[in-house]
Symmetry: C2
Subunit: 217 residues, 2 copies
């Protein structure tokens, strides 16, 4: 318990490809179909309830890992990030907490299917989860998230991992009725902590090493 999740690192550097630019294909928003399905039930709880729940989960399962998807579409020739908007003022990346012993990829695929796919559709559970873009750590239950682990912290309580999810040329998004999926331009998100919080507002920087290959406009 309290494993910080960093023990199983494997060096995957490939010197021959390290210096090549990576690119992301992005397709017009109009290529995608958006439908709706029955609302998802959310835990409606106070902040102190949430801390209590996190503490009991930590005691039972150790480090809580959340996985979130960075998905891009093109609009007005500029990359846009797909976000859930909740009650007008809260913005979230699609994703959620993985189960104990579930892999990051399986957990993210499950969450994306639950929140963005038609129930029971044959292609519903295919999501192209690509590389990890960044990780944020919560050293203690009540504290903020940081993009590094302080070494005087024995067991981090939560880790949020952002994964690039590459969208196909076209697909259906079927969104629960109590969630709203929106596309926000990177230029609006960049350094906009106040609206989007530290994790989302840093995504344009995390994506800056890629070149965007805008297709079909």
């Amino acid at each position: 318990m309290g494993d910080d999740g960093r023990l199983h690192a494997i060096d995957d550097d490939d010197a021959s490809s390290a210096h090549q630019l990576s690119y992301i294909d992005i397709y017009p928003l109009s290529n995608y179909y958006f439908g709706s399905k029955e609302p998802l039930l959310f835990k409606d709880e106070t902040l102190s309830d949430r801390v209590l729940r996190m503490k009991s989960n930590y005691a039972a399962h150790g480090l809580r890992t959340c996985v979130e998807a960075v998905m891009l579409v093109e609009l007005f020739k500029h990359p846009h990030l797909l976000l859930f908007q909740i009650r007008n003022s809260i913005f979230k990346l699609p994703g959620g907490r993985i189960r104990p012993n579930e892999s990051d990829i399986d957990g993210l695929t499950r969450k994306l299917t639950k929140k963005l796919s038609a129930n029971g559709a044959s292609d519903a559970s295919h999501w192209e989860v690509s590389e990890c873009l960044g990780m944020w750590w919560r050293p203690d239950f009540e504290t903020l998230l940081f993009p590094y682990l302080s070494t005087n912290v024995k067991g981090a309580k939560e880790c949020t991992k952002l994964f690039l999810v590459k969208l196909p040329e076209s697909r259906k998004f079927v969104v629960p009725k109590n969630l709203k999926l929106i596309a926000v331009p990177l230029c609006q998100i960049h350094e906009n902590h106040k609206t989007y919080g530290p994790i989302i507002s840093g995504i344009p920087q995390l994506l800056s090493k890629f070149s965007f290959n805008i297709i079909g406009t």
Copy 2:
């Protein structure tokens, strides 16, 4: 001219390694030797002189590309970033502008050797330049840098690329007398725009996908 540098992208994604954690070996600051050498001459100019020089260089050579090194050492079990401190209040990553037709790697190696190596030493020019962590664009001479290119910008004027440079277990840094090389903890840099500017203060986020393998303490 005005090539935005993104045209030659090559897909280097390797699905089999995309989901593995990458790590960076970091060694104690005390493993490194710091010496000094004769001062480097800097162009002492006003902001408007600088804009004039950028404009004439752009007319002659097109997009100006700067390459900068992200190098880490360990101190108090926390990763520290190596920075130049100039006149107490200005912090810069080691690096500089590449020459027309020079590769990013060759340019960064030349700049690091000039600013951090003993003149004429046999191992002076070996630097392990690893992956590109991020890019910042200056759409116009007078504007700020952004981690994306707006599409209504025809020819970006400047691109700053950050490269991870992996330090060996030990090496000599020989620093010009008019520069000061310092090691700053990531926790002090994170979101500290005011002191370090937007590029350096975002480096902890860009590094957050790596796990740090602290060796020899």
